[in-house]
Amino acid sequence: MFGQGLIKGLQITWKEFWTKKFTVQYPDEQHPVPERFHGRFVLDVDKCIACSLCANACPNKVINLKREKVGKKQFLTEYVMNIQYCMFCGLCVEACNKDALHFSQDFNMNQYFYRDIPLVLVRREAPAEPEEEQAGKTGEKPQRQAKAKKQAEPAAAEAAAGKDPGKEGQ
């Protein structure tokens, strides 16, 4: 009565005027993303055995992987996710036996051209020679891993070249 509520309202807006502002100016600064955020996929090529469990787990048939047999082993030649159909449910990450597929915290995946949308995680040529074969038979475990890593290095570089993150968010 007699304008007490009016004065109370003015006090509230006056107090709010001086409070800290909550706006986060997005391109310049970002909200911190939770640890288990479902962002862009990252494939650890060394660990991947091209079993295609992830592709089978996907409800939207997002994951397309191609493999070739090199010697006795499956060799992953292409791993492309049609990310425009992905709903980031995480079933593929759960399905991975070797813990090779992960989410990253990067959510900025927009592209200027439609053709750039599919997420190319691996695209590489299969080696013609099954050079691992003999080493795998005779060598010990650490040696095998070291060799596999050596092979994976160029592959990882290719994967990075296939998908240029710098183009994203334009």
């Binding site: 003015l10 509230i12 006056w14 005027f17 409070t19 502002k21 909550f22 706006t23 100016q25």
Partner: protein, 350 residues
């Protein structure tokens, strides 16, 4: 130096023209023209930046930052907006009364600009110190009702018509408490000249001797400029945008700028009538008089903006009831008490 900055500029211009050997009348006319153009530029720039201020105040009260991209701190935002609005087409509805429709946004600025000629922005800084200044100001400002009505009627749209009918109802009924509120001050001073009114407040501002009158005036003035909580003329949620509904581009911007220029008028008027005009409080005379005037004016403008972002809009019946049943009787009572008080003071010879 700073105190007489603008007066000095006018004198310098006069002596410069005097050296040219032209007749004195022409020199005075040129000086007057320069004064009026300076005021015009000031109003237009100010109206643009008040839009920016409004957005900033709104943002800060909602824990946001507000415009901050165009120019430093977003200060060039109003110019970007005006540039955009100039580029836009002025859409004319098919059944509109074209002449009146286009005339309304042009004329809406006229009363506002006319009023600024008599407002003293500092010591000896009124372009024209008229002996009926207050009367002139009240008479001219009430004209803007007509132009809003013109715009609303000529649009030939139901929302525009309802909005402009509300304009007429609201502005006519709040004109009364506005004038009656000012009457108390005028009774004490005994003059309608603005410089006299300011001179009378050298020791005590009228807000302390006439607090009720100030509240009545300020409330009625906020209603008069169609600002929230009395913005049912625009009433976005009910009648889109009232009389401005059919206007686009710069025609709309003219109405919008006129609204802010009107806020400046009422706040300048409140400063003159109740807050001591250019007088410095607490003897802080080293700050120039015009800075004091603008400080007081902008403080009031801030309050008007704060009112907008604090209160919800009131209903039409509440608006009318509040105007006629509360403000007008209060203003009349204030006049009565002021008159009795003056007589008592005269009787005891104070």
């Amino acid at each position: 130096m700073l105190e007489n900055l603008f007066v000095g500029v006018a004198d310098w211009l006069r002596s410069l023209l005097g050296g040219l050997g032209t007749p004195v009348e022409i020199n005075e006319a040129i000086v007057m023209l320069v004064k009026l153009v300076a005021i015009l530029v000031f109003i237009l720039l100010n109206a643009a930046w008040l839009v920016y201020m409004e957005r900033k105040v709104a943002a800060y009260m909602q824990a946001r930052i507000g415009p901050n991209r165009v120019g430093p701190k977003g200060l060039l935002q109003p110019f970007a907006d005006v540039g955009k609005l100039i580029c836009k087409e002025i859409v004319i509805p098919r059944k509109a009364d074209i002449v009146v429709f286009l005339l309304a946004p042009v004329l809406i600025f006229v009363p506002t600009v006319m009023v600024f000629a008599v407002i003293p922005f500092g010591k000896n800084m009124a372009a024209i110190d008229m002996n009926i200044g207050v009367f002139y100001l009240l008479a001219i400002t009430s004209l803007s009702t007509l132009f809003l009505w013109m715009g609303g009627w000529a649009s030939n749209s139901k929302y525009s018509l309802i909005g402009s009918m509300r304009v007429v109802a609201q502005m006519v009924s709040y004109e009364l408490p506005l004038v009656l509120g000012l009457l108390g001050v005028i009774m004490i001073v005994g003059s309608l000249r603005m410089s006299d009114i300011i001179a009378a407040q050298e020791h005590v501002w009228f807000i302390f001797t006439q607090p009720i009158a100030f509240l009545i005036y300020f409330t009625a003035a906020v209603a008069e400029t169609n600002r929230c909580p009395f913005d049912l003329v625009e009433g976005e949620s009910e009648i889109i945008s009232g009389p401005y509904t059919e206007y686009a581009g710069m025609a709309f911007a003219m109405f919008f700028m006129a609204e802010y220029a009107n806020i400046m008028v009422i706040c300048a008027m409140a400063t003159i009538m109740f807050l001591g005009g250019w007088h410095a409080p607490f003897g802080l005379d080293f700050i120039p008089s015009w800075i004091w005037f603008f400080l007081k004016m902008y403080a009031l403008i801030f309050i008007v903006m704060q009112l907008r972002w604090t209160y919800p809009r009131i209903r039409v019946d509440q608006l009318m009831g509040f105007g006629w049943k509360v403000l007008v009787p209060l203003a009349l009572a204030n006049i009565f008490i002021t008159g009795v008080g003056m007589k008592i003071y005269q009787a005891i010879g104070w």
